[in-house]
Symmetry: C2
Subunit: 386 residues, 2 copies
Amino acid sequence: MLRALAMASVALGPQAAGWARTMASHQLLVAPPEALRKPLSIPNRLLLGPGPANLAPRVLAAGGLQVIGHMHKEMYQIMDEIKQGIQYVFQTRNPLTLAISGSGHCALEAALFNLLEPGDSFLVGVNGIWGQRAADIGERIGARVHMMVKDPGGHHTLREVEEGLAQHKPVLLFLTQGESSSGVLQPLNGYGELCHRYKCLLLVDSVASLGAVPIYMDQQGIDVLYSGSQKVLNAPPGTSLLSFSDKAKNKIYTRKTKPFSFYLDIKWLANFWGCDDQPRMYHHTTPITGLYSLRESLALIAEQGLEDSWRQHRETMAYLHGRLQGLGLRLFVKDPALRLPTITTVAVPAGYNWRDITNYVMDHFDIEITGGLGPSMGKAILSGLD
Amino acid sequence: MLRALAMASVALGPQAAGWARTMASHQLLVAPPEALRKPLSIPNRLLLGPGPANLAPRVLAAGGLQVIGHMHKEMYQIMDEIKQGIQYVFQTRNPLTLAISGSGHCALEAALFNLLEPGDSFLVGVNGIWGQRAADIGERIGARVHMMVKDPGGHHTLREVEEGLAQHKPVLLFLTQGESSSGVLQPLNGYGELCHRYKCLLLVDSVASLGAVPIYMDQQGIDVLYSGSQKVLNAPPGTSLLSFSDKAKNKIYTRKTKPFSFYLDIKWLANFWGCDDQPRMYHHTTPITGLYSLRESLALIAEQGLEDSWRQHRETMAYLHGRLQGLGLRLFVKDPALRLPTITTVAVPAGYNWRDITNYVMDHFDIEITGGLGPSMGKAILSGLD
Ligand SMILES: Cc1ncc(COP(=O)(O)O)c(C=O)c1O
Ligand SMILES: Cc1ncc(COP(=O)(O)O)c(C=O)c1O
C-alpha cells in the first residue's frame, strides 16, 4: 500500500498526491464485466408492434454521424429546421414549438408540468392507458384530476366532454388522438372550440397517430400537441415533438409557481430552441444524434407530403383490415370510423392465448406484433406501425 | 368542398366518413419547409470543450444500427450489460443501478425527485454552475435548500461540510466531483463517512470526471452517483448513468409522497431495468440506439481498464498544463491538487476577450474550446474532453 502510494506520488509529481492517496487507499473491487467483451449484435426485426418502428435508411444514416456541439451554429440551424418540420406535421404556426429531449412520456410531462399548477382542475379522457398516465402525472403534480372513463375501444363524444367541462371547470382537457392500447381514433373536430367556450385548454396526444391521420393543430383549436419520434416518423426513440398555442403559452408565462422540473421548464427550453428574442443560453445537452435523425425523418415526411402519408396509411389499413376479416378474425374496435390506421387491434380468438400467437410470429418470422397494454391487456393483439 | 368530401368518402368507403369530413373542412395551411429540402450536412469538428466529446468509432457505428423493440429480450440483455458496465465504472455493487433516458440534468432530477420530499433539508455545495442547478431543482421540489457557496475555483473541505451538516441537519448533501465550469476536482475521501455520521446521504455529480479521475462509489460511501454519456465515455448525449446505495434506496422506498415525475420514478425504472424481482413492465420507450452506443462506450472503457483510463487522463493533463504554463498562461485553479484532468481552465489573459480566442480556434482549426459557464463566465477558457 505504502509502496504504491510512494510510486504513484513520484509518477504524478506532488500536485496529484491527493489523487494518489485515493488510489492507494482503495481498490478496484468490481471487475470489468465479462458480458461486455462480446461484440454487440442486433437482430434484424420487422417491427409491426405499436412502436418503435424500424428506421428509414436516411434516418438510420443520420444516427451514425459524428457529434458536434449542442451550441454550435450548425446545431441551432438543425434545431430551427426541426421546429419548422414540427410546425408542418402539426399544421401550426405556433412560435413555441420544439423537440423534447426524452420519449413521449417526457413530452407529456413537459406539457403537464408547465400547464398545471397544484390545485388546478384537470379533466382527463381515459379510454386506455394514455389517459391513465396523464391522470397519474396530474395527481403527482397536485392537480385536481377528474377522469372520464370509457372502456377500451370507446372514445369521448362532444356531448360527454361538454358535461365534463361544465361539471369540473377544468383549466385543461387531455385527449388521445390515437389510443394505441385499443386501436381507437378519437375524433377531434369541434373539441377545441368547445373547450375554449369553457375557458379550458385542449391538450392532445398524437404519439401513435401523427403522420398517419389528419390533424390540424391551429384549425382544430388544439392548444398543446405532442408526438413521438419513433412511430410514423420512423426515427429512433429519445426525442419528442411539442407545441403550444399562444393561449397555452400565456398560461405558462403567467403561472405563479415554477414548474417542478428544470429539465422540462418551457421558459428555458423556449430560449434554447430560439423561440424567444433572447440569446440562446445553455440549458442541457440535447441528444445531438437523435436530433439529426429527427431532422431527417421530418424531411422525409415533408418530401412525401402529409396528405400522401395519410392516404398511404389509410389504404394500408383498409387492405389489412380486409384481409384480417377475410380470415374470420374480429377487429377489436367495432365502429369502422373509429379505427386507428397505425394500430390494428384484433380480438384474441377464443381458445387462444395471445402470447402464443405473438411469440409464434416473432420466433418464426422475426416480426413483432404485441398484446394489449394496460386496460386492453389480454383482450387484443396490436399490429401497427411499420 | 362538398365535391372533395364526396370523393373522399367514396374512396374511403363509409367507414372513414369522419376522416374525410375532417379533411374536407380543413386545409394544409403550413407548407413543407424549404430548409428541409437540403441534405443534412455535419461539419467535422474536434470537440475539446467541456462536452460533448467526439464519439469513438465503435460507438459511432452502434448509433447507426437498426432499432429493435425496447422490450425485446435482446434489449433487456443490452440493458443488463449497461448496468454491469455502470457498476464497473462507478465501482459499486448496488443492484439499483441503471441508465436514465435523458441528459445529465435529467439524471440529477431523477436523483432529487426521488430522494427529496417537500420540506426535506437539502445541503448543496456550490462552487460553480452545477451546485446552483441542484439548488434550483431542490427549491422547485419544495425542499429547504441550504447552499454552501464558494467562489469559482474553490472546493468544499471536510470541515466546512461538517459545519453545514451540523447546522442544517440535511437528509442529502450534493457535491460535484468535476466542476466543469471552473475546472475544480472536488476531493471525495471521507465525505461519505462524515455524511453518514450525520444521518445524511451523499449525492455526487461525476458527469465531467467519470472515467478520468478515481472514484469508488461503495468504498467512498457515496449514496447516489450519476454521470453523463457524452464526456469521457465518448457516447452521444441523451442517456445518463445513475446508481443508488441501499441506504438511498431505502429512503426512496419509504417516502410518503410519490415523486412529481412519472418518467423519472425510480420504482418504475428499477422494475424496467430489472433491478427488482418482478416481471418487467412497460414504462416508457427507451432511447434504443442511444443505449446501443452507451453499451459500446462502457465496453471500451472496460477493455481499457479504469486505472489505465485514469492514468491516460492524468498524463495528458500534466502535458497540457506544462505546455500552457510554458506559453506564459495562468491556470485558473491555483492548487495543482485540485485541477480536473478533463477540463483545463485558463485565466483569460489580460487585454483579450475570451470570445475572440475561442472563435479564432473554431474558425481556423474547427476545434471547439469554450468560455466559462455560470459564475466562471468571462473569467476562464475551458478546454477539456477529447
Ligand atoms: C399514444 C401514445 N402516447 C404516449 C406514448 C408514450 O411514449 P413513450 O413510450 O415514447 O414514452 C405512446 C407509446 O407507445 C403512445 O402510443
Ligand atoms: C459536471 C456536470 N454536471 C452536469 C452536467 C449537465 O449535463 P447535461 O448537459 O447532459 O444535462 C454537465 C454538463 O456539462 C457537467 O459538466
